[in-house]
């Protein structure tokens, strides 16, 4: 328990009065960060969104960049990664409920879309159409894991299949020629799942890259955590200490420093017999934090005021920009009596590290300047 000294008080802050055209509330969208920008694409709510929205955290401003090229159809629960200013999207659900396995590239410096046709892997077929998969950039490779496939061609008939396949896609600078690869792994692979989270993590010195898979859905909500060590391509299921978060899916997991923050998602309402017959779920606004150095779940103490915490939600997006964790939209459960589910339209950030106290020098300078 010597490591339990870390117990900072974290604080959510709601961002109001952002200027610019604010995007339609939705869920199943994704976001990536490019410097101060949060780039949001896709998602939907009874109609999939195909617009690209960008939020500038420095100026508190939304804008819609003018895109060109092979603009992709809107998609939801897809894979979204960024490498510098190059953004890739893969798969997800397109309009009218069809699953996709298409890959598009967005060059954010020119806001130009391009459809990519990676070659199939040498050892097998290309990844099947899917949604709720994870798409994570580690080094110069994107890791595609799991998701949900539909074995039926007929849109009226859904034959779901949960996946646990792993593909990689190597990115070469200034080249759009790509090839899927099915890497051979060691150890026990995680069981099939979708709407899990996957984070890339390294040690402080940048060594020991890892892929962290947490939670997801495979008929019931999962709460297990798996690590793929990229150097050795070995799966492991580490033993964790501390109070684990509830099993969940459609949550967000964001790495800030050496910690992975899990926020929101669907959690079981009754915890008695999770595996056998979960019947009720609810959205949560719970925040959990895994310290990757100590492999310990930490419960951050929150400043709890009225309205000081985002409403419970799932299918939201999250990005880390500097030390702040940003979340936007998502939906807060489902009310059967209502015709429409309700999506949140609020933007929040979490200050993960107490900002340094204003330095004396600064004050002096300010006063000097002022004088």
């Amino acid at each position: 328990m010597s490591v339990a000294h870390y117990n900072p008080t974290l604080k959510w802050k709601k961002v109001s009065n952002a200027s610019g055209p604010s995007p339609r509330p939705r869920h199943g969208h994704r976001a990536v960060a490019i410097k101060d920008l949060m780039v949001v694409f896709g998602g939907g709510n009874e109609g999939i969104v195909d617009e690209l929205h960008v939020y500038n955290t420095a100026t508190n401003q939304w804008f819609v960049p003018p895109v060109k090229g092979d603009v992709p159809p809107g998609c939801a629960a897809y894979g979204f990664v960024v490498d510098g200013t190059r953004i890739l999207i893969f798969g997800g659900m397109v309009e009218y409920g069809k699953y996709s396995n298409e890959l598009y590239e967005l060059q954010a410096s020119r806001w130009e879309w391009k459809r990519l046709k990676p070659k199939p892997p040498k050892a097998g077929p290309p990844p099947c159409p899917r949604l709720g998969h994870s798409f994570t950039l580690i080094g110069n490779k994107v890791f595609l894991f799991g998701g949900l496939a539909n074995d039926s061609e007929d849109p009226k008939n859904n034959i779901p299949r949960y996946l646990n396949d792993l593909y990689t896609l190597e990115l070469r600078p200034n080249s759009t020629i790509m090839q899927w690869d099915i890497p051979s792994c060691y150890g026990t692979c995680p069981p099939p799942r979708e709407s899990h989270s996957a984070c890339a993590m390294t040690d402080k010195d940048g060594s020991n890259p890892r892929l962290i898979i947490f939670g997801g859905m495979s008929g019931c909500r999962l709460g297990d955590l798996w690590v793929l060590h990229i150097d050795s391509m070995t799966w492991s299921k580490p033993i964790l200490s501390g109070p684990p978060p509830l099993p969940r899916s459609l949550h967000s997991a964001t790495v800030v420093g050496q910690r992975m923050y899990i926020f929101g998602g669907w959690v079981p309402l009754v915890m008695d017999d999770v595996a056998s017959h979960e019947k009720e779920w609810k959205c949560t606004n719970n925040l959990s934090c895994l310290n990757m150095e100590t492999m310990m779940w930490e419960t951050p103490s929150m400043e709890v005021f009225e309205d000081a915490i985002p409403r419970a939600r799932a299918g939201h997006c999250s990005v880390a920009i500097h030390n702040r964790l940003w979340i936007w939209s998502g939906r807060d459960g489902y009310r059967k009596a209502w015709n429409n589910q309700v999506c949140c339209k609020d933007l929040w950030y979490l200050e993960t590290q107490t900002p340094p106290a204003p330095g004396r020098v600064q004050l002096v300078r300010a006063s000097t300047h002022y004088l």
């Binding site: 009874e46 109609g47 939801a76 659900m93 009218y96 069809k98 709720g132 008929g219």
Partner: protein
């Protein structure tokens, strides 16, 4: 993973699918249509299943230990309407009793068949008489079998129709030879016992409606009851004039077809060049029913000349259709111009006319379009395909009435077309009916219905559809929905 691949639906899989749907409800559903487009009303079916209420009361004692009385018939619940219907049904019998009390009943002359003097008969006469008698025997047996059946009048009507059809066939086989038919008429009148005279009268009455001239000729030779004075002669003439309908009494008491609000114009387009003076009794009934709901406007065009060659007739047909369209559109515009803006205009047509109406409705705005027996399959393929944009262009609401067994319009195909159409549409499916919405005889017998009952039921559906068009039925947003909007 067999759990997910198993074809059969099991609760586990159902639950999973519901969950996936719940979790990933981003997209519009696969069958999504913009909300601004009007509703496809769910198909209604008429006479698709057996009518409630079995022919004989099934109210058997529940207690199985109890001794079941199989000897005493269970008295069916008498409907007050039935007495009236019974009266209508037995009219011919009563007439037979009334005009000639001397004619012996079967009970008095059990051996009447043997007493018929056949000495001077020819072979043809023998054959005809025996055949007709065979038909009458069958009718008599059917009447006895249906005695005190809860829906006896309807079953009786169906039997008489069948008997009349068979007699007509026999007479047609001798080409309605005037000599032979006169002879037959006399032989029957002289020899039949009272019950059989009633059957014969029923047959004559029924056939009079179908082949009036032939029956008039048949009766002209010697009118059987003429020996009983002018009073009965007049009575006989009246009896022959109309065919009894078991549903008349029901309609007398049933709520009348009410006029639609605003007295709409109902434009009846013809499906072929026709002579309106020779309407079938069914067409007459429809005309009457349409006249009760609104102002009926009948589009008529002169008939084709029979002498024209097939080629001419063919071009005439296409010209005819064009003329129907242009005349109808002119009529609609006239109505609109004549200051009847508040009175709706409905198009009404059977078969080909229904298709013509759809064409008209895609060119000129009307308040609604009723298609009876719509010919969906044509020689050139299905209507409503991409290359036949007429149906898809209609903006006025359309009601289809289709027979379950129609060869040119499969209900499933019609539903597919309805899904593609951009207008509000309704569908009434008539069980066991053909492309002209005529119900098969088996269906009639099984359900104890007549064609006029079916037509009346169809009319009620049409009226309801048209009335709903005139009264906007869009429900105001409920409090819950409004709350939801506010919360957004």
């Amino acid at each position: 993973d067999e759990r997910f691949r198993g074809g059969g639906l099991n609760p586990q899989r159902e639950r999973e699918l519901a969950l996936i749907q719940l979790d990933h409800s981003y997209a519009k559903p696969w069958n999504w249509r913009p909300e601004a487009l009007p509703v496809i009303k769910p198909a209604k079916s008429l006479f698709m299943t057996r009518q409630p209420g079995p022919p004989y009361s099934l109210a058997l004692p529940v207690n199985t230990d109890e001794e079941i009385d199989v000897l005493t018939p269970i008295a069916p619940n008498k409907n007050p309407l039935e007495e009236k219907t019974q009266q209508i049904m037995t009219e011919c019998e009563r007439f037979a009793d009334l005009v000639n009390p001397d004619v012996k009943s079967l009970a008095q002359v059990e051996d009447w068949e043997e007493r018929v003097c056949k000495d001077s008969w020819t072979t043809a006469q023998h054959r005809l008489f025996n055949r007709v008698l065979k038909v009458f025997h069958a009718d008599r047996l059917a009447r006895l079998a249906q005695d005190s059946h809860p829906r006896e009048p309807i079953q009786r009507r169906l039997v008489i129709d069948k008997t009349a059809k068979r007699v007509r066939l026999l007479l047609a086989q001798i080409l309605w030879d005037p000599k032979l038919t006169h002879w037959l008429h006399n032989a029957l009148c002289d020899n039949l016992p009272r019950e059989y005279i009633a059957i014969y009268l029923d047959v004559l009455q029924t056939l009079r409606k179908k082949v009036p001239e032939l029956i008039d000729k048949l009766l002209a030779g010697r009118v059987h009851p003429d020996q009983y004075g002018s009073c009965t002669k007049e009575g006989f003439r009246l009896l022959m004039k109309r065919k009894w309908d078991p549903t008349v009494a029901e309609y007398l008491h049933a709520p009348k077809i009410k006029k639609l609000p605003n007295n709409p114009f109902i434009i009846l387009t013809p499906s072929a060049p026709q002579d309106n003076s020779q309407l079938s009794s069914r067409a007459q009934m429809w005309t009457k029913m349409l006249m009760t709901v609104g102002k009926l406007v009948t589009i008529t065009l002169p008939t084709l000349k029979e002498a024209d060659s097939a080629e001419v007739q063919k071009t005439e047909i296409s010209r005819f259709i064009q003329r129907v369209v242009s005349v109808t559109i002119t009529r609609i515009r006239d109505i609109k111009r004549s200051g009847h803006q508040d009175r709706p205009i409905f198009l009404f047509g059977w078969g080909v006319a229904a298709a013509i109406n759809c064409q008209i409705a895609s060119m000129e705005t009307v308040s609604g379009c009723v298609c009876l027996g719509f010919p969906l399959s044509t020689l050139a393929g299905m209507r409503g395909e991409v290359d036949d944009p007429c149906l898809l262009d209609i903006k006025s609401p359309v009601l289809f009435v289709a027979g379950q067994n129609a060869v040119d319009c499969k209900p499933d195909d019609l539903e597919d077309v309805r899904e593609k159409m951009r207008c509000e549409s309704g569908l009434v499916l008539v069980g066991g009916a053909d492309f002209q919405l005529r119900v098969s005889k088996h269906k009639k017998k099984a359900e104890a219905i007549t064609q006029s009952m079916v037509d009346r039921a169809i009319m009620d559906e049409i009226r309801e559809f048209l009335q709903n068009l005139m009264v906007p039925t869009v429900p105001a947003p409920t409090a819950v929905q409004m709350q939801a909007t506010v919360m957004m």
